[in-house]
Symmetry: C2
Subunit: 366 residues, 2 copies
DNA sequence: ATTATCATTGAGACCGGTCTCAAGCAATAA
DNA sequence: TTATTGCTTGAGACCGGTCTCAATGATAAT
């Protein structure tokens, strides 16, 4: 009666069995839809169940079967619409296969991620989909895998951890984006990413522990190298973890004596902030600064100009990992798969030749 | 060993007890952190637990305690960033109170909503937060409430269903937004909403079964009435359920002989589509059409012009319902509360006097 | 020395399902 | 008629925890 009642009494199989005048085992058989029962008794039990408004207790069911029907998902940041779409892809796929999803946010913090994984394991999820925020400390993921629970990685691969993984062709995408900028005449190009670590100063790839970021940087540098862009003209900027941080970083970047003429943003949240800063400084895109961002966020089509983006099929990414995971949950034993989904670049209006292209060449001479 | 193993054997309290040389009850006491145990034994058990890498089975724990530590959330559409923020508010608040969240999407379809509620009840969630997609068919919500499980409503009130509810001041917000448009000189104003039903033609409020929509329409009409806007100039348009539908609706609306000079959009997804259509038709905002939307979506600041919005504190909304629910989960018995959170209108650049204001007056004469 | 008190620990029921195994019973075969 | 087979049904163990209650032993009080 009272909502503060600590235990809500619900109708159980035993109650139904009593009402139908059969044993608990028989009632369980029809209610749980297993085994074999005569039609007459089945009818009696179902009638009693309807009468009493019986609702199976999934918890108890999971206890005995060992299966919870839940897939745990740990994602970096749900507010980032890239993950929003991915999660939607996961949920839809999971639901249509009869699984539920329980979602956790790591805020890209390894400790939060670890805690989330622990909680989900405690809830006895059948499998896990994780976007690892770091590739150095993956003991918790190794534990999951070792415990026999299927694990699949989304968006970020872990080089020396061989499990089902679905990512996009980050290296190639970054390279093509960079090539577009270079072809447009840019030499001083910055790549801004959310990854961060003590010092905030990029030195070399050895510091980067997130595979997707690493690959993107590699692609970016490869394109620069083949085009003969000198190392001091290609900037790699870290630490765009919050809008505020991104704003500061961008201001600082654009205030340099030789500011970059083009920026590649590693996600749309960063790009949005860059866009705002540029406008705030009364500069114009693409005349004063060219911009390309990862993820075709909806806002990128309504700005003036619309933004050139690297379209990552986020929904499909989510759908694909989930399919991989579910196949394994169904008992499929096969070597881990690493699927790389191709991206496409949607060229819109945010790339143009650098404003002072000629003067900039002169200057670089003197 | 094999991942296709149907049952993953995990370490249980009994295993730990055996290893520590104590009874199951004693091991359970230290592992479950209840009762009282001597320091020495506690140390032994903890050591054994660490040794065996014991992880409590939350499922079993929930079975006996009757509490799952999970809050079920059923929301209209996660892809809508309004709900995204709200969900984030819910998750953060829930987590910091030690609860987990399991999320379901109703896609605004009553049948999906019912199924989701059933599943969540089956999972024995401790309480539910729902954004009811309809107010006619709420038997499933009544069931939840009757079962003794706390239920709280988010964003949409149900007039004759008295439970904890958190909404925004929809009526007032719509009224103020309309007043802004009227003050700017508009007379032909359209209100576009996602709600739909057979016929798609708005006739009267009796058709509207979603409280928030109803209140907004009331506010809209109240403002029109006091300003003396005749009924044939204020348009209420339903059925903007998908981007495609919104696009069609908007095109049709703007192609009328006397098209509205201003539109109020009931959410930012609709507004985005309207914005795209207007640009597609080579019309300009605000010169050719003024636009105000509910929800301060991030893209509304980066368009040209930026969009005037009704800022609904979505995160706070989520936080507030969750607090209400948790207080009830903790046993607080009090009459249901209905909290109405105030909104504010952020005036940006999407409202201007109608283009042919004078000519339009002339025309209305002839 | 004896009894009362208190702190610990152990035994076992319980939560609500699933599932194994044996018993009951009718139909069929010998 | 009796043995065999097959289909239903019931009894009860089990999953991994929590929790009640009784038993134990040590300490304090008489």
């Amino acid at each position: 009666m009272n909502s503060s009642n600590p235990r809500i009494h619900s109708v159980t199989v035993a109650d139904v069995a009593r009402a139908a005048g059969v044993s608990k085992a028989t009632a369980a058989r029809v209610l749980g839809n297993y085994g074999v029962v005569s039609e007459k008794i089945r009818g009696d039990v179902l009638a009693a169940a309807r009468q009493l408004d019986y609702r199976p207790n999934e918890l108890a069911r999971s206890m005995t079967t060992g299966r919870s029907g839940i897939i745990g998902v740990v994602v970096g940041d749900i507010e980032n619409s890239f993950f929003g779409y991915a999660v939607r892809g996961i949920s839809d796929t999971a639901r249509s296969a009869g699984f539920n999803v329980i979602l956790a946010n790591s805020s890209e913090q390894i400790e939060v991620e670890k805690a989330a994984v622990r909680v989900l394991i405690g809830k006895r999820v059948d499998g896990l989909i994780v976007t690892p925020s770091e590739s150095r400390d993956i003991s918790h993921l190794r534990d999951v895998h070792r415990s026999g629970r299927p694990l699949a990685l989304l968006d970020r691969a872990l080089p020396d951890f061989d499990v089902d993984t679905v990512t996009v062709d980050d290296r190639n995408a970054a390279q093509r984006a960079t090539e577009i900028l270079i072809a447009s005449g840019h030499r001083r190009i910055a790549y801004i990413t959310a990854v961060d670590f003590a010092g905030h100063e990029y030195k070399d790839l050895g510091q980067i522990y997130t595979s997707s970021v690493r690959e993107r940087i590699e692609g970016f540098m490869a394109a620069c190298d083949t085009a003969g862009v000198p190392p001091w003209d290609r900037l790699i900027v870290l630490g765009a973890t919050t809008p505020q941080a991104t704003s500061n970083i961008t201001h600082k970047l654009l205030s340099r004596p030789n500011p970059p003429t083009a920026i590649i943003a590693s996600d749309s949240v960063i790009a949005l902030e860059i866009f705002k800063v540029v406008r705030q400084r009364s500069q114009r895109i693409p005349e004063d600064l060219s911009l390309i961002t990862f993820h075709d966020a909806d806002w990128t089509t309504v700005t003036s100009p619309p933004i050139t983006v690297i379209d990552q099929p986020a929904y499909r990414l989510g759908k694909t990992v989930t399919e991989l995971l579910i196949r394994r949950l169904k008992g499929e034993a096969r070597p881990p798969e690493r699927i790389i989904v191709p991206t496409s670049i949607i060229e819109r209006g945010s790339v143009a030749p650098p404003a002072g292209q000629d003067r900039s060449r002169d200057r670089s001479k003197g």
